[in-house]
């Protein structure tokens, strides 16, 4: 059986409304990139990809699709920002 990491995914703005939660736990493979996480999120919440061009942050930093997600990472779904 595959090893899994437990991560917390934070949801903000429109992503929070789509997922209907501020955060959820997710089990991901030990070797999992941000791009692979996006595919998982798409299956869980199809509206995320249909409605929103979002970024992913790892431990409060913008992450590329190639980046590997560390165990216990704080992952966040970042919709297009609109501060100011």
């Amino acid at each position: 059986m595959e090893n899994l990491n437990q991560i917390t995914v934070l949801c903000f703005g429109k992503a929070r409304e789509i997922t209907q939660t501020k955060s959820f736990s997710l089990a991901i493979p030990v070797e999992c990139t941000v791009g692979e996480l996006r595919l998982m999120l798409c299956e869980l919440y199809p509206a995320l990809n249909n409605d929103l061009a979002y970024a992913i942050a790892l431990n409060q930093q913008y992450a590329q699709n190639e980046t590997m997600i560390a165990a216990n990472a704080e992952v966040a779904i970042i919709p297009p920002v609109s501060g100011g």
Partner: protein, 139 residues
């Protein structure tokens, strides 16, 4: 460089920006005050609701401050941004920089706002007579 970065659900105070950035080494303080407008494309706005990913927002603001310091001789950077409900006529953000000379201060403060709107994880939902929607950046 002195830094003062804060997200707050309380009304913002212009004087804090002024006091923080003023120094006798700097001839120029430039302060930007972003005010909530009462209409958008002719539709009346009743209020905005700001949401932030606070620790990341502060980290991104700090990065911007360092980007500024790399490009201009800025001695102080101040950003206070509202969270929660903000009404038309109220300040959503107050940003200020100080520099020995005014051209640098104007350029740095304009850059600060451009970058803030590109990278800092803060979102606003706009409530109008027509309903509510998350504001998306205009290119």
């Amino acid at each position: 460089m002195k830094l003062e970065l804060k997200l707050s659900s309380d009304p913002l105070e212009m004087n804090l920006a002024h006091l923080f950035v003023t120094s006798p080494e700097c001839g120029a303080n430039v302060i930007f005050d972003g005010v909530v407008r009462n209409s958008k494309k002719g539709v009346q706005v009743t209020h905005l609701d700001f949401e932030a990913y606070e620790p990341m927002a502060l980290a991104e603001l700090e990065k911007i401050a360092h980007e500024i310091a790399d490009q201009w001789p800025i001695q102080a950077v101040f950003v206070h941004h509202r969270t929660g409900i903000v009404y038309p006529g109220q300040s959503a953000v107050i940003a200020a920089v100080s520099s020995p000379h005014r051209k640098d201060a104007f350029e740095a403060c304009a850059f600060l706002l451009d970058r803030l709107k590109q990278t800092v994880p803060i979102w606003k939902k706009e409530y109008t007579a027509d309903g509510a929607e998350w504001v998306t950046p205009t290119p």
